[in-house]
């Protein structure tokens, strides 16, 4: 899986939880929470989505590392390598 594939999968998971997000609307370098209305329940659903779709378990201690889509891609690429 290359960076674009990982990004597309994460965006698909986010859009399944926040359907108001349009395709291509998210900027990779901006904090996600500034772009999408995600409360803690939504956030947990994203984490569960990644667990189910990409089989990566993200510990709570790592939540702070996942601010932007770029962060997500770098983090997941390292875990999937």
């Amino acid at each position: 899986m290359n960076d674009d594939d990982v990004r597309a999968k994460v965006v698909a998971i986010i859009r399944s939880i926040a359907p108001e997000v349009e395709e291509g609307e998210l900027t990779s370098s901006r904090p996600l929470r500034d772009q999408v209305d995600l409360d803690s329940m939504d956030w947990l659903k994203v984490i569960i989505g990644v667990h189910e779709k990409l089989h990566v378990d993200i510990p709570e201690a790592d939540y702070g590392k996942l601010r932007t889509l770029d962060d997500w891609v770098a983090y997941l690429r390292a875990k999937l390598a």
Partner: protein
């Protein structure tokens, strides 16, 4: 013969539109089975049966709007024989509206233009009441029906419903407000350790810990849990907490999580996750809408420090949680950074006094110092 009445699903609900029957005459139903879907001003809600029996008659046709309390169906109790069929739906007299004539079984008159427009708008012409000659469905009827299904309309209706309930609350309920700053270090540490042990799919949120702490603390303040009905307080033995859930398109709904005091945190987390998903998808159940005994609202995620809430009638109290954040705290003479949350109580002075409310908040604070016991 058991009469199934349209329940009041929310204080401001006066009528509901029958969208779909989930059962037919002859079907067996158990308590809790979903028998119909009814559109209220806030959402489409699954109406559950309160009894066990066999469906005898469905008395309200799909598409009809009837007042709360109308008998919508009858059930035969187990072992009961079917009596002679009844003539028409029984609606409570003062609120009764003329019952529209049942839809004719013959093919509906629909103008060709209306049929084409209905196809474009994905509207079922068979379900539209026609206003044209001989009841024919016109283009305008189709467009009106399509309009009715739009989320913008739903948001406006929900805003009106919230306005009606909150206006009634502020008119009738003499609110008093209390606030308590609660140290959360123990709860935060305990939750982090607990979640590290749990699989991803079973992780808990602090909101669930707070809900359970509220339920535990209510044991010491029974006058905050129940309803104001007919000029008197009726305490509730059960603790059904209405959780305020924001809807993505705007608005708010507060369905109940039942028996919060008797469920463990894992079960409460599953219940909360389920009710949030269903609230946002518009598939709540009638019992969830009609029986919260107190409401909890958590606005901390929006960044506010404290919530001074408006009680949802006929309830008599509302608990609010603000943002969980690290702030200065004096501990044995030293200032240190401490995760804190401000919990607030809005309560009905007809039922309780500030001292009882203060005891409740003190107990809530105490319960949150022992998260492992929740």
């Amino acid at each position: 013969m058991i009469e199934v009445k349209l329940p009041a699903m929310g204080a401001e609900m006066e009528e509901g539109k029958l969208l779909e029957w989930k059962v037919k005459p002859g079907d067996g139903v158990k308590r809790g089975d979903i028998i119909a879907i009814v559109d209220t001003t806030k959402a489409a809600v699954d109406v559950e049966s309160w009894d066990e029996g066999r469906v005898h008659e469905l008395l309200v046709p799909v598409g009809d709007t009837v007042p709360v309390g109308t008998v919508i169906a009858t059930l035969l109790a187990p072992g009961e024989a079917a009596p002679a069929p009844r003539a028409k739906p029984a609606a409570p007299a003062p609120a009764a509206k003329p019952t529209p004539a049942p839809p004719s079984p013959a093919r509906k008159a629909v103008s060709p233009a209306a049929r084409a427009r209905a196809k474009e708008l994905a509207v079922d012409v068979e379900k539209i009441a026609g206003s044209g000659p001989q009841g024919a469905v016109t283009v305008e009827d189709v467009e009106r029906a399509a309009q009715g299904a739009k989320p913008a309309d739903r948001a406006a209706e929900m805003r009106r419903a919230i306005g009606a309930a909150m206006s009634r609350s502020k008119r009738e309920i003499p609110h008093y407000y209390l606030a308590e700053t609660i140290p959360m270090a123990r709860a935060v540490e305990w939750l982090a350790a607990e979640n590290a042990k749990r699989p991803v799919t079973e992780r808990l949120l602090m909101g669930v810990v707070q809900l359970k702490a509220v339920a535990r603390a209510l044991a010491k303040a029974p006058e905050l849990n129940g309803f104001w009905r007919d000029g008197a307080f009726v305490a509730s033995q059960a603790i059904h907490i209405g959780v305020a859930i924001s809807i993505r398109e705007g608005g708010l709904i507060a369905p109940a999580i039942h028996d919060v005091d008797r469920k463990d945190l894992g079960q409460l987390m599953r219940d909360l996750s389920d009710v949030v998903s269903r609230a946002r998808a518009g598939s709540l159940r009638s019992s969830e809408m009609s029986d919260p005994t107190i409401t909890v609202t958590n606005l901390g995620e929006s960044g506010v420090e404290a919530v001074h809430g408006v009680i949802y009638p006929p309830q008599v109290a509302l608990v609010g949680f603000g943002r969980l954040s690290s702030r200065p705290w004096v501990d044995e003479g030293n200032v240190r950074a401490m995760p804190l949350v401000t919990a607030t109580l809005a309560a009905d002075h007809r039922v309780s006094d500030g001292i009882r409310g203060a005891r409740f908040l003190a107990e809530l604070r105490e319960r949150l110092q022992h998260p492992e016991e929740l």
